[in-house]
């Protein structure tokens, strides 16, 4: 356990926070907290109006996106909206097409059909650079950081600040420090320690800070909590919340439904390359989500409750 982990564990849940203990015992408490938040939301915005509420701007729209690999249809007819300042969770079983979908958005493997609208404008994302230029940042857990470089060096990798053609270490250190401070969930021994000595959650935080430092509007996270411990996972979830506070859209792939239910505002379920269901988190519970993931449909998922098309969300299933 690193010093930072210990910090989280040892910190009193400062003020006004439910001291949710670590481990499975915290699950009910978490759900309750979540419900409380939802209640408040419902009070302020009547349910009927939620569909047309303008406050969550649609950042990225996928319209009939599909992808073939030879004769195999990896994705077909994906219609999905990603909202600014909201967390959209993408769930699905292995081979459902989750990775293919994020690769399409991240410009790693462009889709064959359909179109993508970025802030209402039709865009073609063909290379990772196209995606970066639009403001789409993809955070991979282990592919983003150099273990032998320190936090500052990693965060500015590829966009080092120069002064008189030399590395401007002071400016970069200040920049990295404030970027991490804005996310304010990271406690590290020193900003000059090598990334290889960080815990999984800290690494994830550095990778995310690096991504959003480039003024990202959409952050795609692939399995951000896989292989993380309880407190590390909590840290990453907190990080996701931080991003949404800054009106950044987060598109997160996760196998962990507990994580999904604790942070997501919208859920999209992929089943065999098709969207089995999409909707606000309120329409999902663990049971119907599991059914949707494993069978592609669920009796307990109330399709009619979702006003199809009203939010630009189509339902397939």
């Amino acid at each position: 356990m690193t010093a930072a982990d210990a910090t989280h564990g040892a910190r009193p849940a400062s003020a006004g926070r439910a001291p949710a203990g670590a481990g499975s015992g915290s699950e009910p408490a978490r759900g309750a907290a979540r419900d409380a938040v939802r209640e408040t939301a419902r009070e302020t915005v009547p349910e009927a109006d939620r569909v047309s509420e303008p406050e969550s701007e649609v950042l990225l729209q996928l319209r009939g996106v599909g992808k073939h690999f030879g004769s195999v249809r990896a994705l077909s007819d994906i219609n999905l909206d990603i909202h600014a300042g909201k967390v959209t969770a993408l769930v699905g079983d292995n081979g459902a097409g989750k990775s293919t979908l994020i690769k399409a958005i991240a410009g790693i493997a462009a889709p064959d059909e359909g179109e993508m609208l970025w802030q209402g404008r039709s865009v073609h994302i063909r290379t990772p650079k196209d995606a970066t230029d639009l403001g789409i940042a993809t955070v991979y857990q282990d592919l983003a950081l150099c273990d032998n470089l320190d936090i500052v060096q990693n965060m500015f990798l590829g966009r080092e600040q120069l002064k008189h053609r030399l590395l401007d270490e002071s400016a970069m250190e200040s920049g990295a420090k404030s970027a991490l401070a804005e996310l304010s969930v990271v406690t590290v021994r020193s900003i000059r320690q090598v990334v290889g000595s960080l815990s999984g959650g800290q690494r994830q935080a550095v990778a995310v800070a690096k991504a959003v430092m480039g003024n990202a509007k959409l952050v795609i996270m692939d399995e951000p909590t896989a292989a993380l411990g309880v407190s590390q996972t909590a840290m990453v979830l907190e990080l996701i919340t931080r991003l949404t506070e800054r009106e950044i859209a987060v598109f997160v792939i996760s196998h962990n439904l507990t994580d999904v239910f604790s942070v997501a505002d919208y859920v999209a379920v992929l089943y065999l390359g098709r969207l089995a269901a999409v909707g606000p988190i309120a329409q999902f519970d663990t049971q119907n989500t599991v059914e949707l993931i494993t069978t592609g449909s669920s009796d307990r998922f109330n399709h009619s409750a979702v006003p199809v098309g009203a939010t630009g969300i189509d339902l397939k299933g």
Binding site: A22, G158, E160, S197, E238
Partner: protein, 481 residues
Amino acid sequence: MAPTSEADPGTTADATPIAPAPAPAPDPASASASATGTATASAPASAPATSTLVGQGPADILVAASDPTATAAAYQPEPDNLGAYFSAWINKLRGGEIGVLPVIVGLILLVVIFQAENSTFLTAGNLTNLIGQGAQYMLLGMAEVFVLLLGDIDLSIGYLMGIGAAVTCILIGAPYSEPWWVACLAGMGATTALGTVQGLLVTLLGLPSFVVTLAGQLAFSGLLIVIINSANGSGVIPVNNNVINDLVNGNMSPLAGWIAMIAVVVLFGGFMLYRGQHRRHNGLHAQPLAVTVLKIVVMAGAGIAVVAVGNSNRGIAGLTRLRGVPWVTLIVLGVLGIYEFTLGRTRFGRYFYAIGGNAEAARRAGVNIRMIRTSAFALSGLTAGVAGIVLASRLGSISTDLDGGTEVLYAVAAAVIGGTSLFGGRGKMLYALLGGIVIATIYNGLGLLGLSAQDTYIVAALVLLVAVTVDAVARRNSVRR
């Protein structure tokens, strides 16, 4: 001084709890203890900010402070006095970041052993001789660091060194009779070009560097003989130029030695002091002033020792006077300075470490990996050319007898003994310099003891194994990797 946030640059160390030292991960007890201390201290600062309810579920156990100063305070304070710095350094050693410590200790051991066996080892004459012998290993070691940092290897630089020497010697002599500096530039140009070709084969065709440079070693050993034989039939090309000859065999005047030493110390020392001042001025953590001063004192002490030894009369008593530091010292230090500066202070140098650490991450960050890798082989070739000129100067000639295969193995050994990783991402030019001194010490010391070449090989092999073992054991104690 503790890190202060951008938002509140006025925050000083006074407001931040000073823990004795950053607790390293391997020591959980002290880690959690000091972390708790920090957390408690930062709690009051974060309390007002937590009214913004954002976290849900387990996130609640975190302090979600939107006040950046709270987070800044949560950084472990860095050591800011000599004692704290020293204990932080001890912790780093225990954590596996051993740096140059083993090679320094090893060097002292070797010196003690050789001096005990033969009292001429530590005489001025022998130590000056050792500088000349070591220069070529130090330079070749530095050549190797460029490629080793990327996780590649260059097996060709031994014969490449010979080619650099041969080209230089031929151009100085009749019928070309070029000025010495033209000949040197041509020699270095030739080796740089050959290094670049190998680099292009590695990057464009995607061939393993081991195989490409192994082929290079064979090809260049043949090419060296072709070049030397094209000049004359004797298999030896003499150095017909006093400037080149004096690089290793000539000495600075005692006064020039002192001036050069003072210039180097003032330059480096001034730079270190300026950097610390600059960082403190910008509210960033800098190493304590006392530590900087201590480093400058150590550097000056080493400089004074080298110049004092070099300036003492090592001629035959009563017959000749031979004084002064060999010029080659300045060449090695100059190359070291330029390379360290390139690797440490430029974007180009930073990418060597990034690629060595995680090539995929570097690629995704937009680093031109092919360009950097090709450059590494080009720089390796260039440095081999410099080593070739030094070699020609020391021997007074270059011949077809050069054993480039052994030379390159000594070069890799020098880099690795100093602490450079064969897997990329870790290493410094200084490491190769120190490793080169170790190799030269073994070579020189065993020679004084009257031991033959085979013994030298075996002892060098043992030292290499010990160095790698110390490194591996130290790193096993570190948390990761």
